[in-house]
């Protein structure tokens, strides 16, 4: 048989039908839904008198639009409340399992999927959210879809898709001390650009990836979409199995053994064909921070804001000029001299327990700068509980951070957590688009460790020099 990549293996084992022009009807094993991109899908089902084919294959949780402050009195914002209520109502009507806002297991879809063992290797997993790529860390072919496709999955448990091309991202050698998964993925995006992966599924490989924990692998796969790839994959290994064992929805007993036996085959075969490959020298990666309004606008913390005048392509030069104007930065300004006034630690990129531990380690015994408003939003209720058991909340609070309830929060600022115009934020989230964290707000993407350092110094700062 022709050697296959992980992507080829998962794809070919999920084909229900194929038409002559190459579109496949692909079976979908797992479907996550949330309040923002699902109401119109349910409306479509109802208008057309369609059923949900396999309600237990879908799991619902409100996350995008939920408050992260006091929740005892419910959601005060009317539209947000209606959206969250609609989700619960739709799930009840169609028999779909859900975690309501008061459930300890509530959290960001991409955090709770793995946490519950809903995400499994070898499965196809989709969600009406572009950061669904996160689940690729488990060797699950996972990608974001639109609302029409959410309806398609609910109704048929399939999607009509053309296969993607394979792109091998190979990290050569080892990372320098103090370099995080966030630095690695930002570095890659800077290197290949936000459209570098369009039409591809990434497979991440190399010692760096093998050495990463599941949390770190999730951070890597999460931002695949920021390089244009709908999905990123990592071959499952013992770390993957250990993470998933005994999770509430993971297979148990004999089923577990059978599953692991199969999961072990999910490696790209020797000589498997990749349409594209890149080698990244791991030791060349420094702590990364973005300067512009696209995740590809990224440099090392030791570098300076680039000069658009030196960019040859007219289109790229104009983009850089526009970005600097929006960001209120000057060419040549040292990155480590940029003052910030807000720090956000959280999101599906960096809202897991390890992220909070690493930030807390930096903050332990230190106080944040007085002019900085800083807050931590754990990725889920279970992450929050775990952090509290470890006393991390106390470290955050005594350093001057606010300790919040779980949700997407200021990653996309749909709830009350927003930047005011011209406020500048060191953020562990995934997008620095214009207005992403609030109209006129200025976002610098970085790791949780670098965010903690920025909070202490009141400016972007090389955490290794603290």
């Amino acid at each position: 048989m022709k050697p296959q990549t992980i992507f080829d293996k998962i794809w070919s084992s999920h084909i229900v039908d194929q038409n002559p022009s190459g579109e496949c009807l692909l079976y979908i094993d797992r479907h996550l839904i949330h309040e923002v991109t699902s109401p119109q899908a349910f409306e479509g089902l109802k208008n057309n008198k369609r059923k949900v084919r396999k309600p237990l294959m879908t799991l619902a949780v409100p996350d995008h639009n939920v408050p992260t402050t006091e929740r005892r009195f419910g959601i005060t914002d009317n539209e947000s409340r209606i959206q969250v209520e609609k989700l619960i109502e739709n799930c009840r009507e169609f028999g779909i399992p859900f975690f309501p806002i008061e459930d300890l297991r509530q959290g960001i879809v991409h955090i709770i999927g793995p946490e519950q063992g809903f995400t499994l290797p070898g499965t196809t997993l989709v969600c009406g959210d572009s950061h669904t790529s996160t689940h690729g860390a488990f060797g699950s072919l996972a990608f974001g879809i639109g609302t029409s496709e959410v309806e398609h999955v609910l109704s048929t448990q399939t999607l009509i898709l053309k296969p993607a091309k394979n792109y091998l991202i190979n990290f050569v050698g080892e990372l320098k001390k103090g370099i995080t998964a966030k630095d690695v993925i930002l570095h890659l995006i800077g290197k290949i650009g936000t459209a570098g992966g369009t039409g591809f599924v990434f497979e991440y490989a190399g010692k760096v990836i093998e050495n990463f924990s599941m949390e770190e692998r999730m951070t890597i796969c999460n931002m695949s979409i920021e390089a244009g790839a709908r999905a990123g994959l990592i071959a499952p290994d013992n770390k993957t199995f250990e993470y998933l064992k005994d999770k509430p929805l993971s297979p148990k007993g004999e089923e577990w053994d059978k599953a692991v036996e199969y999961w072990k085959t999910l490696k790209s075969d020797k000589n498997a064909h990749f349409d594209k490959k890149i080698d990244i020298i791991a030791s060349s990666i420094e702590p990364q921070v973005t300067w512009g309004t696209s995740p590809e606008d990224v440099v090392s913390i030791t570098a300076s804001v680039p000069d658009p005048a030196k960019i040859k392509s007219t289109d790229k030069r104009q983009s850089a000029e526009r970005a600097l104007d929006y960001m209120g930065l000057e060419p040549g300004q040292k990155m480590c001299n940029i003052d910030i006034n807000t720090v956000f630690i959280g999101s599906c990129t960096n809202g897991r327990i390890e992220d909070l531990r690493k930030a807390a380690e930096i903050l332990n015994g230190r106080k944040i700068n007085k002019k900085v408003r800083a807050f931590v939003v754990p990725g889920s209720g279970l992450v929050k509980k775990q952090a509290e058991e470890e006393g991390l909340d106390k470290i955050f609070v005594s350093s001057g951070f606010e300790w919040r309830e779980p949700g997407c929060s200021m990653c996309l600022a749909m709830n009350a957590d927003k930047l005011q115009p011209h406020e500048r934020c060191a953020s562990t989230s995934n997008r620095n688009f214009e207005g992403r964290q609030g109209r006129g707000g200025r976002t610098h993407l970085l790791s949780p460790e670098m965010a903690a350092a920025a909070a202490i110094k009141g400016k972007l700062f090389d955490v290794r020099k603290l």
Binding site: T123, G146, K316, E434
Partner: protein, 203 residues
Amino acid sequence: MEKFSKLAGIVACIELSNIDTDMIIPKQFLKTIKRSGLGKGLFYEMRFDENEKLIPEFILNKSPYNESKILVALDNFGCGSSREHAPWALTDFGIKVILAKSFADIFYNNCFKNGILPIKLLGEEIEKIINFSKNKFLELEINLKKQTIKGSEINLSFEIDEYKKKCLLNGWDDIDLTLKKENLISEFEIKNNESWLEPRRNE
């Protein structure tokens, strides 16, 4: 879904790369539970200032571009979030065709589910269109069946996936098509009945 075959109109150019879906429809418009009425939020932060006043210089606020059906942009149009609110906003505003050097995958797919035709053109072709429309109102006729774009001094052809073309031309609904294959889906489920794949009920 509405059928799409031919369309003629004035093009509006936004000379930017990486127009993301946050730009196309900002988050405050995502709180709706409907698909309709999103045109008011299209490019909101470019069309309206902080005091919600119209910014007259922005192209889609100027006549006749405020009635453009064809939008032109540079690279990686529709990157970022998967929100289908982006094509909903475009179509509600009246935009049915987007010409760009390249598109982000999820957005590109979402367009076809909403009767919008996204067309990928070569860099030089996009630049030609932009240059023409700088000097005068450029009207183009898009013919999906023939896969052509025509206007004064513009005569281009474009590529499109056969299946997607057929769906647009006929206004087919994907779900209806798939439901006709119900037997194949059931067969697949029986054949691939791995017990470990069945998620347990919560609780």
